[in-house]
């Protein structure tokens, strides 16, 4: 059975998620990006995450309402996992802004801190590592959606458009 043609909304969500995944991989490799790109990319990811959440708002609202009533264990675990992911990313962003040497001083016009706050640096690394693990679990929970969306978007290349 051929997959239905992908809607523009589906394409936006799929490519937005793909961009977020690539950004997370790049943000974890400070050797590759360097500090300047790392900090600016970290700030640029914030509106992408907000858009990701706004596009999934109907799911968030429905699952929040159902959380305390009739919900399966899988849905509850998925909901808590997403909440933890949001928390880990928020903590990583916040700690990243506190130890920023380039981007935040450039935006605010202030001088960068003369010394590194190692405590926040350590917390930034820890929360980022937790966020990566949770991103993997987030992908695990949404695997079926990713496969279905990919099939609809790439159906021409997969030979389904006949």
């Amino acid at each position: 059975m051929a997959a239905k043609p992908a809607s523009s909304r589906l394409k936006i969500i799929f490519w937005l998620d793909a961009a977020l995944l690539v950004s997370v991989c790049a943000l974890q490799t400070l050797h590759f990006t360097g500090l300047v790109l790392h900090e600016w990319l970290g700030i640029a990811v914030v509106p992408l995450i907000l858009l990701h959440l706004l596009l999934a708002w109907s799911w968030i609202a429905a699952e929040t309402r159902r959380f305390f009533t009739s919900q399966s264990l899988r849905s509850r675990v998925n909901y808590l996992l997403n909440l933890c992911l949001f928390g880990a990313i928020t903590a990583a962003m916040y700690s990243g802004l506190l130890i920023s040497q380039m981007a935040v001083p450039a935006i605010t016009g202030s001088k960068p801190a003369p010394y590194m706050d190692w405590k926040w640096d350590k917390l930034h690394s820890d929360f980022s590592a937790i966020a990566v693990i949770l991103v993997g679990l987030h992908l695990a929970f949404n695997w079926e959606w990713i496969l279905a969306a990919g099939e609809r978007i790439f159906r021409r290349f997969l030979g389904g458009d006949r």
Binding site: L21, V24, C25, A26, Q28, T29, L30, H31, F32, T33, G34, L35, V36, L37, L50, L53, L54, W57, R74, V77, F86, G87, T90, A91, Y94, S95, Q101, M102, M116, W118, K119, W120, D121, K122, L123, F127, V132, I133, V135, G136, L137, L139, A140, F141, W143, E144
Partner: protein, 100 residues
């Protein structure tokens, strides 16, 4: 109307983010300041190093491993579940009794 709805959703997300920031700050107070390791300073080069691109692929592989592990831990299936799953199987252990 749509704009107000959008703003209210952004406000909810901001409130939640603020709550997590407060929790992070509280947690940070309880953490001791670690002594800086020499290799930490070496990490902080400003310019990108394209030769380190395999690290990005390594992160992608790490996320993929976490995803596969997550599917195993949460007992999800890599293939869609068969349609027959979840249906009750009658073992016919009880003899039929005539209706009263």
């Amino acid at each position: 109307m749509k704009f107000i709805r959008l703003l209210s959703r952004l406000a909810v997300l901001s409130l939640l983010a603020t709550a997590f920031v407060l929790l992070t700050s509280l947690y940070a107070r309880s953490v001791r300041t670690p002594s800086p390791l020499p290799q930490w300073k070496l990490h902080r080069r400003s310019a990108p190093q394209l030769t380190q691109f395999p690290e990005v692929l390594g992160e992608g592989i790490l996320i993929a491993v976490c995803a596969v592990a997550g599917r195993l831990v949460f007992r999800l299936r890599l293939a869609p579940a068969p349609r027959t799953e979840g249906q009750l199987i009658s073992l016919s252990l009880r003899h039929k009794t005539p209706d009263r």
